[in-house]
């Protein structure tokens, strides 16, 4: 009941932002749909078109955002955003004219169910926002700063092509550009726009899974089961929103669009006049994936390699197939034990083993039926899992020495991605079971239809009920680093501290790769939001810093740090140490979850 009330409260309080975001996505969807209809004509069902079109719906929005942020030939106003919207609408009218609208194939009810899943998902995902004061965790603070930075560029009528970016090392601005280009962001509802856009992205992510499964198996139910698994089967990828992984989550949609178009290119014999379109769309998709999250391009490469190897595997002699099977299983076991023995990496299996073992077990069983019926896609899915896990150990310096300590993919991203091959396997396996009962029906003397229907209904019902009864739509306590006390503190800082006051915040080392080298530092409490929300510079130190030591005070004085910010997380500074040295630190602001101390022990004081 609370879920419903909280969902409605979020919708009621943010409906205009929600409407703008849905409008922009709808516009992008209809444009992509028109292009797909020009290419694929009547070969896809209505539900397949919906799934495929939604996967590509962010492309026009992304390129429209880049367009508006690249121009600097006119003074921008709030209404300037109507220009790309108008251009997109014109493109839509043109494409609608070009597209040969064919009678829709396939079941209308499947399309309705798919749309229903999408709408219900949006509503349920919005519940998350009812308990989130700001977007969660430390990543979000930086994404928010970048979006504000881009909005500054927009307001000053500058072009992103002519100014230096916030940081030359931060090279994928796709999500930030799209969020900054939302009309609601232009009106300064940046934080709300970022959170709502993120939740809608979560609702979009599972829908494209339908296309490949449905088209491969010709089973609507198999496609829907894959969507259910991708939506609520495991807590990933949606849980990553707790970590503020907005660009990585957004890239999953584009990634699936590229995979869908790649799959379609293999499956369809397109006419020579449409051959070029086979390359343009994936090209645009890969470019968009790179702009949103560079590592997703590597994932596209991994999937492509798995697809090619799977074909070669199946065409090999039997003994090579067996050898490869043992090598693959051996490789997977080796990876599993290597990962389990590594403190940083072992959590990669948490969503699928510790918490999701029931559905992972079910998918593993269904995979046998999947392999019997759809061997290539099943093998490719297995290989994708194998390669994703292997990428945790492959150093990126084989591609570029610039990122020495990093591996090709990082642990959080792999953890987010494993749902995709598993959902595909689940859908394919379900169709395999369906086909088994269908084929035995054809044999004389067999009448397994009721059994088949019963098992199909049981599998769908079980996944549906199990997912919904075990799913948590609310933010995790792990990552809520900002409390209402912190918001008061930020406002207090803005009003009471000098503009150049430097504030010490608690940090810790980032640790997502196998390497022992330093990966950088991140904020561990709300202090990381100070530059964005209180407009003061920060200076970080490990959260276990001992404030009772003279050396600490000397360091703070040397670095001209004026204040110490203590938030309310377990990894905040220990305020008791500051209270024990009143000659060095004076409390100037105190709420139960937030303390601010002025450093008074420096010589100048």
């Amino acid at each position: 009941m609370n879920l419903l009330l909280d969902g409605w409260l979020v919708v009621f309080n943010n409906w205009s932002i929600l409407a703008w975001i849905l409008l922009v996505i709808f516009l992008g969807y209809t444009i992509t749909l028109s292009v797909l209809k020009i290419i694929f004509k009547d070969t896809l069902t209505a539900a397949e078109y919906f799934s495929f079109g939604l996967a590509g719906s962010l492309l026009p929005f992304l390129f429209g955002s880049i367009f508006i942020f690249s121009l600097n030939h006119f003074q921008r106003t709030d209404l300037s955003l109507l220009i790309p919207l108008a251009l997109l609408s014109l493109a839509l009218v043109f494409l609608q004219h070009k597209a040969q609208i064919q009678p829709v194939q396939g079941s209308r009810s499947t399309l309705t169910v798919l749309i229903l899943i999408f709408c219900v998902s949006i509503f349920l995902r919005l519940v998350f926002i009812s308990e989130a004061i700001t977007p969660l965790y430390f990543d979000s603070a930086e994404h928010y700063r970048i979006i504000r930075y881009l909005l500054g560029i927009y307001r000053n009528s500058q072009s992103i092509l002519q100014i230096s970016l916030p940081d030359s090392r931060y090279y994928h601005l796709g999500f930030h550009l799209m969020t900054a280009a939302l009309p609601s962001s232009i009106q300064w509802y940046v934080m709300d726009s970022m959170m709502i856009f993120g939740q809608i992205i979560l609702a979009m992510i599972p829908i494209p899974v339908f296309f490949i499964v449905r088209h491969e198996t010709s089973s609507d139910k198999a496609g829907l089961l894959a969507v259910l698994l991708a939506s609520f089967g495991w807590y990933m990828p949606a849980y990553a929103v707790n970590w503020g992984k907005y660009p990585a989550l957004t890239s999953l949609i584009i990634l699936q669009f590229v995979l869908n178009i790649g799959y379609a290119a293999f499956r369809f014999n397109l006419s020579p006049s449409t051959q070029w379109k086979k390359y343009i769309l994936p090209g645009l998709g890969i470019a968009a994936a790179g702009l949103i999250h560079t590592r997703s391009v590597l994932v596209i490469g991994i999937v492509f390699a798995a697809w090619i190897i799977a074909k070669w595997w199946l065409n090999s002699p039997k003994w090579i197939q067996l050898l490869l099977l043992f090598l693959t299983l051996g490789g997977f076991l080796a990876e599993y034990f290597l990962i389990q023995s590594n403190d940083v990496l072992k959590v990669v299996f948490d969503p699928y083993v510790q918490s999701g073992y029931v559905l992972t077990g079910l998918v593993a069983l269904l995979s046998i039926a999947a392999y019997q019926t759809f061997p290539r896609l099943t093998l490719a899915s297995f290989l994708v899992i194998l390669f994703l896990l292997a990428s945790l150990f492959i150093p990126v310096n084989i591609l570029s020495a610039r990122y020495g300590y990093q591996t090709i993919l990082d642990r959080p991203f792999v953890e987010m991605l494993l749902y995709l091959p598993l959902s595909l396997l689940g859908g394919l396996g379900f169709a395999g079971v369906e086909q088994y009962f269908h084929s035995t029906e054809q044999k004389p003397g067999y009448s397994n239809k009721p059994t088949g229907v019963l098992i199909s209904a049981f599998l769908l019902g079980f996944v549906f009920l199990y997912s919904f009864t075990n799913y948590n739509f609310r933010p995790s306590d792990c990552c809520k680093i900002v409390s209402s006390d912190d918001l008061i503190a930020f406002d207090w800082i803005k009003r009471n501290l000098p503009i150049d006051a430097q504030i010490l915040i608690a940090t810790t080392e980032l640790n997502v790769f196998t390497s022992t080298s330093s990966e950088g530092f991140t904020g561990t409490d709300a202090g990381i939001w100070i530059p964005s929300l209180a407009g003061r510079p920060i200076f970080g130190a490990p959260y276990a810093l001992n404030f009772g030591k003279q050396s600490t005070l000397d360091m703070l004085c040397e670095q001209e740090v004026n204040y110490v910010y203590i938030g309310g997380t377990p990894q905040s500074f220990h305020w008791t140490q500051l209270n024990e040295t009143p000659d060095w630190y004076k409390n100037v602001f105190s709420l139960p979850k937030t303390q601010i101390y002025r450093i008074t022990g420096c010589a100048a004081d």
Binding site: F26, L510, N546, Q571, H574, V588
Partner: protein, 206 residues
């Protein structure tokens, strides 16, 4: 014919979305202007409760410069009207100046005379426009900016630590895929001897 129908449907749908958006925006703005009116019942003030969020509640009490008190209010209504607070202690009434946190309209705080732990106070929330009573309540100050001491197994740092620095200007300091803050080093080599901590929390699902 089908094509025309489809185009018309799309245009109608988009027009509908724009109309609904526009209509709702004006409605929302009107609501924002109106806020609480004198005819509405007075809200009973209590401490905020996660399970039953009141329209206006108190999240915490605190201190400013050790000689003033802070009262942290939360409202569920972003358009809650501007108000001021009056607190009566031992029969003496004091005024507290309240302000909404910029960009977070559901967070409001008031600053005024110092209140001590354990005191029972009577609160009156009055509309700034016409001073009509919006909310009232009697509360005991059961906690006052004293969070539970945090203990963990980490060893305090003996030498000067590794440090990082970020500016408040429009210069986010972010490398590559995962945002971090640029590291600056002090002269002394750091020796962080604390327990290893994953930057991403152990993602055991709650």
């Amino acid at each position: 014919m089908k094509k025309n129908k489809f185009t018309i449907s799309i245009n109608i749908f988009m027009g509908f979305i724009v109309l609904v958006t526009g209509g709702c925006t004006s409605l929302f703005n009107r609501n924002s202007e109106s806020g609480q009116t004198p005819g509405q019942p007075v809200i009973e003030i209590a401490y905020c409760n996660v399970n039953s969020q009141a329209e206006l509640c108190i999240a915490s009490f605190g201190t400013e410069n050790e000689n003033k008190s802070l009262v942290n209010f939360i409202t569920t209504d972003p358009s809650f009207p501007d108000f001021d607070l009056k607190i009566t202690r031992d029969g003496v009434q004091s005024a507290y100046e309240c302000r909404q946190v910029e960009d977070f309209p559901t967070s409001i705080y008031c600053v005024g005379e110092k209140i001590s732990l354990g005191e029972t106070i009577e609160l009156q929330v009055l509309s700034r426009d016409d001073e009509h009573l919006i909310a009232k309540g009697v509360l005991n100050i059961s906690f006052l900016a004293l969070s539970t001491p945090i203990t963990d197994s980490t060893t305090p740092i003996e030498t000067a630590p590794q440090t990082l620095r970020a500016t408040a200007t429009q210069t986010p300091l972010i490398p590559t895929e995962t945002p971090t803050v640029t590291v600056g080093r002090t002269q002394t080599t750091p020796s962080v001897t604390g327990t290893a901590v994953d930057s991403y929390p152990n993602s055991s699902y709650p």
